[in-house]
C-alpha cells in the first residue's frame, strides 16, 4: 500500500514537468482527440455504406465527400499534433537539462566529486532522454489510446450493450497483467541505470588512463572490466525482455478472446435477429480499432517504466538543497589571512588538525611539508573549495564565506597542482573570468613567461588547446594556469606546487615578474624547494595535518629538526639553484 502511494507521488512528479506546457499539452490532446475521433468515425461511414447498400439506398458521392473531408482533416491534425509533440518534448528535455545543470553548477566541489561525474553524465543524457521519449510518445499515445478504448467501448455499447459488456469484461485481465509487470520492471530499470553509470565509469577511466593502459599493455584487463559491466547490463536487459515477453502475448490473446466473444455471442444475436449484419460488421471493425491502442499501451508501458525510473534518479539531483547563499561582502581585499583552529575531516580521518597561523597583507609565505600533509587542503580552504569542519578561515578579518564569491574570487588567484586545461583557445583558457581586460591578459602572459611560446603558435592566442591539454608540455600547462590566476589581477596568489614542472630558470624569472608586475600581492605558496623560499617572510612546516613549526628560514634552521632534515635532503644541489 505504502509503496503504491509512493509511486503515485513520483508519477505526479513526472507530470509536473509538463506544467509550463499545459496550454500546449491541452492543444496536443485536443488535436489528438479530433484526429482520433474522426478516425473512429471512418468505420462508421464504411459500415453505414454497407448497410445502405443492403437497403438499396447507397449513394457514392456524399460518402466520398464525407470520407475525404475526414481523411484530410485527420492528416492535418496529426501533422500539427506531431509538430507540437516534438516541440513540447524537446523543450521539456532542454529545460530539464538546464535545470539539472543549474543545480549542479550551484553545488560545492565536494558534492560533484561525491555525486560522481559518470552518474551525472547519465543523468543529463540518458535519463533525460527517457523522459523525453515519455513526453513525445507516451503522453499522446496514452491519451489517444485511452480515448479510442473509451470511444470504441461507448460505440460498442450504443450498438449492442450486451455484446459490448461481454467484450469490455475482458479488459481487466490486461490491466492486471500490466500492473504486475510494471511493478517489477521499474525496479529493474533503476538497477540497469546504475549499471549504466558503472559502464560509463569504466569507459571513462579507460579513456582518461589510455596512456597508462598502453604503457602497461593492459587493454585486455580493461576489456574484461568492461565485459563484466556490460554482461551485467545485458543480464538486466534480458530480464526486462522476459517480462515484456509475458505482457504482450497476454494482450493479444485477450484481444483474440474478445473477437471470439463477438463471433460466438454476436453471431448468436444475428442468428436470433436481435442484431443487424451491418452492426455485426461494425462490431468487428471496432474491435480491430480497440486492439491497436491496447497494444500501444503495452509498448508504452516500457517507456513509462523507464521514464519513472529516470525521473526518480533525476529528482535526487534536482531536489538537492541549494548551497547556503553566499556572503555579501564585496570589500577590496588587503590580503591579511588568518587560520584559527581549523580542522578538516575527509571522511572519518582528519586531514588538518587545529591549524592556526596568520599572514600579513603583502607578505610571502611558503607552506612546506611531506606528501599528504594537507598542504593542498590549506589552499582549498582559502578558496572555498573546502569547508572547515571546525575553526575559521579569515581574510581581512572576515570569514571567507562572508564574501560575495564573485568579488572574492576575482581578487584571489589559485594555481592548481594538477594541470586543468579546457578545450578552448589559449586566450579563453587564460582569461577564464570574463572580467579580465586585455591589459590584464597581456600582463599575465608576460609574467608567466608565455609570450614567446604563444607567439610561436600558428594562431597565437586563438590556438585551440585539445582536451586535457594533450598538445602542451607539462610546464606550458602550468604556466597557462599561472597566467589564468594572474589575469584576474589578484590581491592574493595561491600557488600549489607551482614550481614542480617548470625549470629553474623559468621559475626564477616568473617569480621576479610576479614581484615586479604585481607589487603588494600576498603570496601563499605550497612548495617542495626550500632554496626558492629562504627569503620569504614566513615558512610553515606542515606534517600529517599539523603545523610542526613556523617562522623564517633562519629561525627554522635553528629550531626545527624536521625542517633541517628537509633542508639537508635538498642540500647537495641547491648550490646550483642558488646561482641565479
Amino acid at each position: 500500500m505504502k509503496q503504491e502511494a509512493g509511486t503515485k507521488k513520483k508519477e505526479a512528479g513526472i507530470f509536473s514537468l509538463l506544467q509550463p506546457y499545459m496550454g500546449m499539452v491541452a492543444l496536443l490532446i485536443l488535436f489528438t482527440l479530433v484526429s482520433n475521433g474522426l478516425n473512429l468515425w471512418l468505420p462508421k461511414i464504411i459500415g453505414n455504406g454497407i448497410d445502405a447498400y443492403e437497403h438499396g439506398t447507397f449513394q457514392l458521392q456524399p460518402l466520398l465527400i464525407k470520407f475525404m473531408v475526414a481523411v484530410i482533416i485527420i492528416l492535418t491534425f496529426t501533422y500539427l499534433q506531431n509538430i507540437i509533440q516534438t516541440y513540447v518534448s524537446e523543450q521539456v528535455a532542454r529545460n530539464l537539462r538546464t535545470k539539472i545543470s543549474d543545480k549542479i553548477s550551484g553545488q560545492s566541489y565536494a558534492w560533484v566529486e561525491q555525486a560522481n561525474p559518470s552518474r551525472l553524465l547519465t543523468n543529463l543524457i540518458a535519463d533525460v532522454d527517457s523522459i523525453k521519449l515519455f513526453v513525445s510518445q507516451a503522453i499522446v499515445s496514452l491519451v489517444s489510446s485511452l480515448f479510442i478504448i473509451i470511444g470504441a467501448s461507448i460505440l460498442l455499447l450504443t450498438i449492442n450493450w450486451k455484446l459490448a459488456l461481454a467484450v469490455i469484461a475482458t479488459l481487466p485481465v490486461i490491466g492486471i497483467t500490466f500492473f504486475l509487470v510494471l511493478r517489477k520492471v521499474r525496479a529493474m530499470f533503476m538497477k540497469s541505470r546504475e549499471i549504466m553509470d558503472w559502464l560509463n565509469k569504466v569507459i571513462n577511466e579507460s579513456i582518461l588512463g589510455a596512456a597508462l593502459i598502453r604503457v602497461i599493455n593492459s587493454q585486455q584487463l580493461e576489456y574484461e572490466k568492461f565485459l563484466d559491466a556490460n554482461s551485467k547490463a545485458m543480464g538486466f536487459g534480458l530480464s526486462i525482455v522476459r517480462l515484456f515477453a509475458g505482457l504482450i502475448p497476454v494482450i493479444t490473446f485477450t484481444a483474440g478472446i474478445a473477437g471470439l466473444i463477438i463471433l460466438s455471442l454476436g453471431g448468436h444475436f444475428v442468428i436470433t435477429n436481435s442484431m443487424t449484419l451491418g452492426d455485426f460488421a461494425a462490431f468487428n471493425s471496432y474491435l480491430a480499432l480497440l486492439i491497436f491502442p491496447i497494444l500501444v499501451i503495452g509498448f508504452m508501458s516500457n517507456i513509462i517504466a523507464q521514464a519513472t525510473a529516470s525521473y526518480q534518479r533525476i529528482s535526487a539531483v534536482i531536489n538537492m538543497p541549494d548551497l547556503m547563499p553566499g556572503g555579501t561582502l564585496t570589500a577590496q581585499l588587503k590580503g591579511d589571512i588568518a587560520f584559527n583552529g581549523v580542522t578538516v575531516n575527509y571522511g572519518q580521518k582528519p586531514v588538518l588538525k587545529d591549524i592556526s597561523f596568520s599572514v600579513k597583507a603583502g607578505s610571502k609565505v611558503a607552506v612546506i611539508g611531506p606528501t599528504a600533509a594537507g598542504k593542498t587542503q590549506l589552499l582549498n580552504l582559502l578558496t572555498g573549495l573546502l569547508k572547515p569542519s571546525s575553526g575559521s578561515v579569515l581574510v581581512d578579518g572576515h570569514p571567507v564565506t562572508d564574501y560575495n564569491s564573485e568579488s572574492f574570487h576575482s581578487q584571489v588567484g589559485f594555481v592548481f597542482q594538477d594541470s586543468i586545461i579546457f578545450n578552448m583557445s589559449i586566450r579563453e583558457n587564460i582569461a577564464f573570468n570574463d572580467t579580465v581586460t586585455d591589459e590584464a591578459l597581456e600582463k599575465a602572459i608576460q609574467a608567466a613567461e608565455l609570450k614567446e611560446f604563444i607567439n610561436s603558435l600558428p594562431n597565437k592566442l586563438d590556438t585551440i588547446v585539445s582536451e586535457r591539454g594533450a598538445s602542451l608540455s607539462g610546464g606550458q600547462k602550468q604556466r597557462i594556469m599561472l597566467a589564468r590566476a594572474l589575469a584576474v589581477n589578484p590581491k592574493i596568489l595561491l600557488l600549489d606546487d607551482f614550481t614542480a614542472r617548470v625549470d629553474n630558470n623559468t621559475e626564477q624569472k616568473i617569480l621576479r615578474n610576479v614581484q615586479l608586475l604585481y607589487p603588494g600581492i600576498t603570496l601563499l605558496s605550497v612548495t617542495q624547494k626550500i632554496a626558492a623560499v629562504t627569503h620569504y617572510d614566513q615558512i610553515i612546516l606542515l606534517m600529517q595535518g599539523e603545523i610542526i613549526a613556523g617562522g623564517t628560514h633562519q629561525e627554522l634552521m635553528l629550531t626545527s629538526p624536521e625542517y633541517i632534515q628537509i633542508f639537508n635532503s635538498q642540500q647537495s644541489t641547491s648550490n646550483y639553484e642558488l646561482q641565479s
Partner: protein, 587 residues
Amino acid sequence: MNYNLNKYTGKEHKTSNYTAFRNLLQLISHEKKNLVVALLAILLNSTLNLLGPFLIGYTIDHYVQHKQYHGVLVFSGILLAMYLVALFTSFFQTKLMGSVGQRTLFTLRNTIFSKIQQLPVAFFNQNKAGDLISRVNNDTDKLNQFFSQSLMQFVGNIVTMIGAGVFLLIINYKIGIAALAPALLILLFTRVLSPWIKRKNAANLKTVGGMSAEIQESLSNFKVIIAFNRRDYFRKRFNEANEKNYQTAIGAGLANNIFLPFYAMCASVAQLLVLTGGIYLISEGEFSIGLLVSYLAYATYFYNPLRQLATLWANFQVAMAGWDRIAEILELETDLITVPDTMQPSLSPALLEFRNVHFGYPEGREILHNINLSLERGKTYALVGPTGGGKTTTASLIARLYDPTQGTVLLNGKDIRAYAADERSRKIGFILQEPFLFTGTVKENILYGNPRYNDYTNEQLTEAIREANLEKLLAIFENGLDTKVISGGDGVSLGQKQLIAFMRAVLRQPDLLILDEATANIDTVTEQLLGEILEKLPGTTTRVIIAHRLNTIENADEIFFVNSGEVTRAGSLQNAMEKLLHGVRES
C-alpha cells in the same frame, strides 16, 4: 593517421543503408540460429493472426448468415485453439527477438570498446572523452532500441503485411489492386525521404556527443570553475551545447514523425477504395457482402502493420545514423602495428638506441630532429632541458606510444616495432607525467595489469613490497594496501598518486624504467627514499629520469640536454646546469 572522428578529412561516409545494414548484420552473424527460430515464430504467429479474420469472415458468410449456430460454435472453438497457440508463439517471438537485441547491444559495445582499446594514444588526444562515451553508450543504445523493440515488430509487420497483401490479391485481384495501390505511394514517399531523415538524426547524435563532451569536461574540471567563480561558465557552455542539441533534436523529431500521418491517410483511402470497389463488384455479382466485411478487415491487416512500419522505419534510420558513428570508430586501425623483424641483429651493447629519429605530431611541426642516442644496461640517464623542449616526446618514443616519423628506435638491437606489445611493455616501464589512478584500492592500483602477483595474499604481497623496498612508501597511505582511491578524485594528493604510479612501475621489474617528472610533487625527503629504491633496483635495470629538480638527477651516469627538439650529451652535472641556466628557453 587521422584519428579525429569529428573532422573526417577523408572520404565522407556515403555507404548505402543496405551495405551499412549488411555490415551490421555481419557483427551479429552468430545470432543466425536465434533469428531463424524467431522468424519461424513470427511467421507462425502472423499466419495465426491472419487466419483469424479469415475464419471469422468465413463463419459469418457460411454460418451467421445462414443461421447455423452450431457451425459458429465449432469455428469459435477452432479460433480459441489458434489463439492459444498464438499466445505461445508470440511469447517466444518477443523473448527471442528481445534477447537478440540485448545480445546485439552487448556485442556491439564490446566490439567498440575492444576497438578503442586497440587504438593508440594519438586517438585519445584527438577525441573528447565525452564524445567517445556517447558513442559507446548512446549510439549503441539507438541500435539496441531498433533491435530489441523495432526489429521484432519490423519483421512481424512485414510478414503480416505481405501475408495480408497476398490474401487481398488472391481473394479478388481487382479489389486487391485497388486496396494496395496507396501502398505504392507510401513506398515512393519513403524512398525519397529516408536519406533526409537519416541525415537529421546523424546531426542530432553528433550534438548529443558534443553535449556529452561538454559535461565531461566541465565536471572533471569543476574545481577550476569554482575557484574562478565561473559557475556561470559551466551553465553557459552547457546551455550552448544544450541549445544546439535542442535544435537538431527538433529537426530529427520532426523528420522521424513525417511518415505516420501520411501512411495513415493512405490506409484510410485504401478502405474507401475497397468499399467502393467492393460495392461495384457486388453489383456486378462478383463479390459478396460477407467477403467485403472480411476484406475490409484484411485491408486493416495490411495497413495497420504498415502504419507501424512508419515509426519503425524512422527508428531504423536513427539506428543507421548511430551505426555510422560507431562504424567510424570500427574502421580506424592502429598505426602502431607490429612489423616483421628484418633488421640485422645489432652488435651494439646498448639496451635502447635511437637512430636518426625524427618526430612530429600529425599536422604539427616536427618536434624532434634527428636524434641519436644510446642507453646502456644498468646505467642511469637524465634528460634535462627547458619546458616544451621534447623530453616527454622522447620518452614516449622509447615506450612506443608513438612511432618516429623517420628513423628507428631499437630495443636490444631489434626494431622496437618488431616486439609484441606485451613483451615490449614488460621490458619498458614508463611513469607518466600525469599519474592516473583507477577507482579502487591502492592495492588494485599498484598491481594494476601486473600478472606476477595475481594470486598473492595480502601477506605475501606485503613481503614482496618489502623486498622491493617499497614498504616505507606504502606507509604514507592511511590504510596501507586497502586505502580507497577515486579516479580523478582529490581524496589522495597528487604526490600520493605519484607514489602509487612509482610503486606500480617498480613492481613490474622492467629492464628500462622511465620517470617523466614522476616525482615532481613528492617532498624531497620522500624523494630521497625513491632515489634509494631506484639504486637498489637490479643491476641490469636502466633508468631514464626526466626532472627539473636537480637532486633527482645528481646520481645520473650521463645527462642529456633536450632543447628545441635536439638531444645532446651535456657531460657533467655542472655543465648541464650551465646550459639550463643560461640556455635560451624554447617552448
